[in-house]
């Protein structure tokens, strides 16, 4: 049997495709929830309503339309983001950490609900601007978050905290054992059925490519650290 050797760039692309694929179903769920009133209000208007109601329904259609547009824009931005792929300091930009966390978390909202876990989000006032590549940072956070969701028991909770130049994600699942601690960043190492085991490898590679790091603290807490903008 021949096992293809993946380049780092291929691993990044594959990881993004896997995460996007896992999110696609729940994004569709969310989109259907937003779409239902849009098409429904149109039908009610067509059936004949007072001008006052018509105005109210048009406002609802407009706000739902904007919400749907934002959701799809965020998903496309994530799934089609170009990868710096560890090209070092090339293409780095100033990124607002809190905005990026909000955007990624909003993509995961329904995935979290369907997985029957809860997410606590905390963005410290000091969470600042970091120097990085949007596509790379969003993929690191999404990969670690997805791991946490999959490792959490039903009813479990996950915490994502943005502070200073770092983001930490921890869950109340069983955590990483002492025996596997040294292997979790190795490509294709996994303890989960149906998982390729490349998310953390990709995360580490991308974080280091931007001058940052991805580490495991204790058994359950992953910390992504990034750099400040260089002038």
């Amino acid at each position: 049997m021949v096992i293809k050797q993946y380049s780092k760039e291929e691993l990044v692309t594959l990881t993004r495709q896997i995460v996007s694929g896992k999110l696609a179903g729940t994004i569709t769920h969310k989109a259907k929830n937003i779409l239902m009133p849009i098409t429904g209000y149109v039908e009610l208007i067509e059936g004949g309503v007072s001008s006052e109601k018509q105005k109210k329904y048009f406002e609802k259609i407009e706000s739902s339309g904007k919400r749907l547009q934002l959701l799809l824009k965020s998903f496309l931005r994530f799934s089609r983001a170009s990868n710096a792929g560890g090209r070092g300091w090339q293409g780095l930009e100033e990124i607002d950490l809190s905005g990026l966390i909000e955007e990624i978390v909003s993509l995961f909202e329904d995935h979290i609900t369907i997985s029957k876990v809860t997410l606590e989000k905390e963005i410290a006032p000091g969470a600042g601007k970091v120097c990085g590549v949007y596509g790379d940072i969003s993929l690191i956070i999404a990969s670690v978050l997805l791991n946490a969701i999959e490792a959490s028991p039903q009813g479990g909770s996950i915490r994502i905290v943005g502070e200073g130049l770092s983001i930490s994600i921890d869950d109340d699942g069983p955590g990483v054992s002492e025996e596997t601690k040294n292997k979790i960043f190795e490509p294709f190492f996994t303890t989960k059925q149906g998982s390729l085991g490349i998310g953390l490898t990709t995360g580490l590679f991308l974080a280091r490519g931007m001058g940052g790091d991805l580490v495991l603290e204790g058994k359950n807490k992953f910390i992504v650290s990034l750099c400040q903008k260089k002038y």
């Binding site: 729940t26 259907k32 009133p37 209000y41 059936g47 609802k60």
Partner: protein
């Protein structure tokens, strides 16, 4: 005076509740809402609705768990599940808990109203 038929809609999405309020009230029914499973159980005990429209996917206690709790209290209360996303296992599970049907979230107003009327006609006979 004839009492108004009460319909409880359970969904965590505010925009879905707002919309279904318009649909339910346009048919002359009284609208009740709950945004979580716990709130739904309280409303059922307090207001005794004639029909429950219940979303499957909700944070905390999900629709199927609410359905189980309803069945512990009231085996005959008509429940129609609202689905935007459902696996065949979940649908099979709900069918086993004596539901009156499904309204997919992509359904037209006409289809949703028709389903509601059919279920109420049977249950209010």
């Amino acid at each position: 005076m004839e009492k108004k038929v009460k319909i409880l809609v359970v969904d965590d999405e505010e925009n879905v509740l707002d919309f279904l309020k318009e649909v339910v009230e346009s048919q002359g029914y009284s609208f009740l809402s709950a945004r979580s499973g716990r709130e739904a159980m309280d409303k059922i005990k307090e207001a005794r609705p004639n029909l429950v429209l219940l979303d499957v996917v909700m944070p905390g206690i999900d629709g199927l768990e609410v359905l189980r709790l309803i069945r512990e209290e009231d085996k005959g209360l008509p429940v129609v599940m609202l689905t935007a996303y459902g696996t065949s296992e979940r649908i099979k599970e709900a069918m086993g808990l004596n539901i009156s049907g499904f309204i997919p979230k992509g359904a037209s107003v006409k289809e949703a109203v028709s389903k509601i009327k059919t279920v109420l006609n049977v249950s209010l006979k």
